[in-house]
């Protein structure tokens, strides 16, 4: 099975036709998706009935409530369930045509991927797994599926969306079902939800769409996947209720994210505004701006059966009724985790990057301003490296490179500004005079936005960069030693970047071959040596990881301190700390730095630890940071 095709996908702009034709006739077009693999779609009420009558739910109701009354479960299901109606899809199609044509220049979709998706829907139940970067993601797949005459997916959505008056109901009728946040140990709720999801997967009448990252990535960096939904969708396969499942990674990327400043403020501790219809109406003004293009890349369907081959025994359910509630076995947990990580990896690799992502990476290393011609030169250099590392770039070939870069940057005039041949990060305007704290705040949001766009491209460089760092910390050139340090970094950053569990050697291999592609290293049987000509590349790649390493070091060094005096020590940390810190504390738990106390759990909530008086933008220094090796890192207990 080929998981990832390297051939250049052919993207088609679906808005082009919308601009030419009538939105009404698009919305009213004959919509007859080819029948899926399963039976004809049951009505929402029939579906709910199947769920309520399931043995699994009956077991749980009896166990939790001590009687067999299903009223409570029925109420939960009513709150949760979708009510997909083609009329509303049409309505939505009309509205989205209007909105999208205003927001975006183009929505680029790879038609080959859609063709594969169509094929997959006819064979096995399909799970659509898009990444989640913006509110706009929601329903965009439904819109595309409607346009291409494919079955409309059933979408897992957070319950706040349901709370939006009118909109919530429209979403529900467009196929959304709503999941509460923080379900915790509410067994009945888990049972209703999992049975609902499993029933949809089993019957296979519509693709199930969910965000495996669990929530919108505020930093535009891939998040390590959440496992709840993943288990639910995989279970029908593991229990033999379906022959196979197709996981379809979908990579959505934006030239410019609608809520970019909202995200930056959230990272700075400003609470997220509640999702309300009123709020949505207020946000109308975002419609007036230019957000460039949106890319939606439908990846190759991944067969769960293929993934499972030799990795998990399906016989584990042979000795107990399959309806019996129970936690997934360790084996299934590991399998689900590996599968979820793999999908996120595929999402990353399918992501189409805008030239701006590369520029942002460089701007961030020169936060105090830089000359435009130098920036342009370096961006072109970086483009070369990125392409060699297999990145997918949206770089129009028919335009002069300079024009591509400047127009891509122009889209982000809220973040950077080019004046008199120099490029500057923008400070937010506000009433004068500013206190020091406010000044930092105003500048920080541009830095964070910039960092977010850099993050979109980070996955391209992570593995080669880690090899580069590892090479810098090993005395000789022994591949084995480098690999050992690489693995340390990989463990360290397990919450930072997405690594498929158990694929250390493959990751290392990918990093090495990336470096070789760039001509930065030469590999012999047991050695990995940097080449003289491309020393810059190694230095540059190491520098990409530097902010992360530094933050982890600070976290590590200060954990004891942090534990007792959180507020004081935070004030010294550079701003990138804000996005990385939560992960780094999480790492320290398995590493043994911090005991899992309520205090350190709170650390992961941004608004608690944002109280700073001093903020230093990290200078883009290029010297490789000395790194505490594995021995050092694990031997500093609290």
């Amino acid at each position: 099975m080929q998981e990832f095709s390297m051939t250049k996908p052919s993207f088609v702009d679906i808005l082009e036709e919308r601009r030419r034709g009538s939105d009404i006739s698009h919305a009213l077009r004959a919509f007859s998706p080819p029948p899926g693999c399963g039976a004809p779609p049951p009505s929402p009420s029939a579906l709910n009935k199947m769920v309520l009558e399931s043995q699994h739910l009956r077991y749980v109701v009896l166990e939790v409530r001590g009687h067999s009354e299903g009223g409570e479960a029925a109420a939960l299901l009513d709150e949760m369930s979708q009510n997909l109606q083609v009329t509303f899809i049409r309505l939505l199609g009309f509205a989205l045509s209007k909105i999208f044509t205003r927001l975006f220049r183009r929505i680029q979709v790879n038609e080959d991927g859609l063709a594969r998706l169509q094929q997959a829907t006819q064979e096995h139940p399909v799970i659509l797994m898009p990444n989640h970067r913006s509110y706009v993601d929601f329903l965009v797949l439904s819109y595309i599926m409607f346009t291409y005459d494919l079955s409309i997916p059933v979408i897992a959505a957070g319950i706040p969306l349901m709370g939006m008056s009118l909109i919530g109901e429209i979403f529900r009728r467009s196929g959304a079902f709503f999941i509460r946040r923080a379900i915790g140990s509410d067994k009945l709720y888990w049972a209703v939800l999992s049975e609902y999801v499993r029933t949809i997967v089993r019957t296979g009448f519509a693709p199930v769409e969910f965000y495996v990252e669990g929530l919108r990535s505020r930093t535009l960096k891939s998040l390590t996947p959440k496992m709840g939904m993943m288990h639910m969708v995989l279970e029908p396969f593991l229990k033999g209720e379906v022959y196979d499942l197709s996981l379809v990674p979908v990579s959505i990327s934006y030239d410019r994210v609608l809520e970019e400043s909202l995200l930056a403020h959230e990272l700075l501790g400003v609470p997220k505004p509640r999702e309300t219809t009123r709020g949505l109406l207020k946000a109308r003004r975002v419609l007036e701006q230019d957000y460039g293009s949106m890319h939606v890349y439908f990846g190759n369907p991944v067969s769960v059966r293929e993934l499972a081959k030799g990795r998990i025994g399906r016989g584990q359910y042979n000795l107990v009724p399959r309806d019996l509630p129970g936690r997934p076995s360790e084996e299934s947990q590991a399998f689900a985790s590996a599968a979820a990580h793999r999908v996120v990896r595929l999402q990353e690799r399918g992501t189409v990057l805008s030239p701006w992502s590369l520029t942002a990476l460089l701007v961030l290393q020169r936060p105090d301003g830089t000359r435009w011609d130098l920036l342009a030169r370096d961006t072109l250099w970086l483009r070369g490296i990125a392409l060699q590392l297999g990145a997918r770039l949206d770089w129009p070939a028919d335009l002069p490179d300079l024009e591509v870069m400047s127009s891509s940057m122009a889209l982000h005039r809220s973040v950077v500004r080019c004046e008199e041949g120099c490029v500057w990060l923008v400070e937010e305007a506000g009433p004068e005079p500013v206190t020091q704290e406010e000044g930092v705040f105003r500048r920080a949001s541009a830095v964070l936005m910039c960092a977010s766009y850099r993050n979109q491209a980070l996955h391209v460089f992570t593995r080669p960069a880690m090899v580069a760092v590892a090479m810098g910390t090993v005395p000789g050139h022994s591949q084995e030693d480098i690999y050992r340090h690489f693995c340390f970094l990989r463990d360290l950053f397990a919450n930072e970047f997405v690594f498929v569990p158990g694929c250390g050697p493959q990751d290392f291999e990918e990093g090495c071959s990336g470096l070789q592609q760039c001509g930065a290293v030469s590999a012999t049987d047991h050695e990995l040596k940097p080449t003289e000509e491309e020393r810059d590349t190694i230095v540059f790649l190491s520098a990409i990881l530097e902010p992360f390493i530094e933050t982890y070091q600070v976290t590590g060094d200060n954990c004891t301190l942090l534990y007792f005096s959180l507020r004081n020590c935070l004030s010294f940390f550079p701003s990138h700390f804000r996005e990385i810190f939560p992960n780094s504390t999480r790492y320290t738990l398995p590493g043994g730095y911090l005991p899992p106390t309520p205090t350190c759990c709170k650390l992961q909530c941004p608004n608690i630890y944002f109280r700073q008086s001093h903020c230093r933008i990290h200078p883009g220094s290029c010297s490789p940071t000395p790194l505490c090796g594995p021995q050092v890192a694990t031997s500093s207990p609290i």
Binding site: K239, G240, E241, Y243, G313, R314, G315, Y317, N318, P321, R322, D323
Partner: protein, 600 residues
Amino acid sequence: PPPPPPRLRWRSSFEMVADAVYGDAKISRQDIMKWNGWGYSDSRFLFNKKGQGEFTGKRYRLSGMILPSLKDWFEATFGTSLQHKTPATPTLNVSAVPPPNLVEPFVEELKVAGVAASHDPEGRVFRSHGHCLHEIFALREGRIGRVPDLVVWPNCHNDVVKIVELACKYNVCLMPYGGGTSVSSALECPLEETRSVVSLDTSQMNRILWIDEKNLTVHVEAGIIGQDLERQLNESGYCTGHEPDSMEFSSLGGWVATRASGMKKNIYGNIEDLVVHIKMVTPRGVIEKSCQGPRMSTGPDIHHFIMGSEGTLGVVTEVTMKIRPLPEYQKYGSIVFPNFQQGVSCLREVARQRCAPASIRLMDNEQFQFGHALKPQVSSIFTSFLDGLKKFYITKFKGFEPHHLCVATLLFEGDREKVLQHEKQVYDIAAKFGGLAAGEDNGQRGYMLTFVIAYLRDLGMDYYVIGESFETSVPWDRVLDLCRNVKERIVRECKERGVQFPPFSTCRVTQTYDAGACVYFYFAFNYRGLADPLHVYERVEHEAREEILANGGSLSHHHGVGKLRKEWMREAVSTVGLGMLQSVKEYVDPNNIFGNRNLL
């Protein structure tokens, strides 16, 4: 007073016209049976000059009939053409048979003891195989592997005792041979066996020794063939009711050794329910119980060491079995369901209410169409008009999708009143699941299919088509999932291994139990263009079995393990379980005299 209702002669679904000749005659069966295919030499399917399907001979109801739809079905299902033939080697090349490795003093002493023996090559080849695809495929190509070195024909229990004693004395490997219908590689001589291999053919031990009408039992020599046993009992007004699909050729001893299951087990039970007493000769001596009590609590039932031992512990020589008076009335029936799922639900409900008829089987859509392809030429326009009308009613009026509908076949037995009552009960249940009664004729044809399917495989092999059946048992809630997944797995594996045309992959539910069902799969494909079709076939069958096990199915319901499924035994019965069986083998047969290496 009205005359008593006439007692039925044994009337199996395939209805013999002429009795087989070999029962009493002391000739070996090989004279009237194919040496490289299934069944009687005179009965075979062929496509005549007009391209019509035809079944030769006079033995079966289908014999001598033209089957007009067979060719179209065959070509459409397998993507074959009648132009491309793969005929079998017509006669056995005796010179290809390896010379016998005889232990002279053993042969001498047998002669002294008066036991018939022969090392004639044809007889040895005939007893060197069962009916697995690879065995028959090799024979058709004229390839002969390891064959037994000698065949012996004991006449009675005491002959067997002598043979086993001599075998122990001269360290000769014994392989019991009953009807030769094994489909688990159980009769293959182990390649690693260096000793002289002696095939112990039980066919001459075929007498009914006594019938006990007070206790309704019969005491029989274990070499008797199923149809002979049934026919002879019928003459006295009784039957055992044990009708495995192979009963034309399989032997009582074979049933015991493999834990056989009969079509009508719902009334009469499987072999383990039918036997009352077993006598087996082992290298340690004779094993048997001291009485014929109907049930006992004397530790683990020693019968269960014997049943399913697959010839690894000794030779079953005599068996006491339950008998029943012949049923007064028999009626076939059939039900059409809109889809397989509804059909399974209906069977499950029938099992729940414990009202299963003597036999109830559910064919999937592919098999239903297969059955149709075997419909003989209709004699009148009227019949074909009626057929058309039925089809119209079911597909157009009732809205059944022709590519989804499936058929259950039924067989009721008992006294007339009760059968009719029972029939109504079952049809009422079926109606709840959308089932429509579809007549006796369809039912009867369904059962006929069972007996001719093995002949059909030979026809397929004449035209690049190879296939096999295999079975499993599975809890009710997993029946549908298992059927779907295994069928799909077969299709996918074939595609992956370069099979050009989608395979014929079909199943039916053949038995119902309280807690589950027995499922039977047929699988066949066109192997044109494949370099090593047998290997492809074996891999696909292997993967299909893996799929069965992953879906909660058993390793075997009644075919047994043999050598074909040995690799999964540990997984199937646990390491301790396997150790228990091994230690029994070690005690009973420390020198591995019964060295067919099945099971363990």
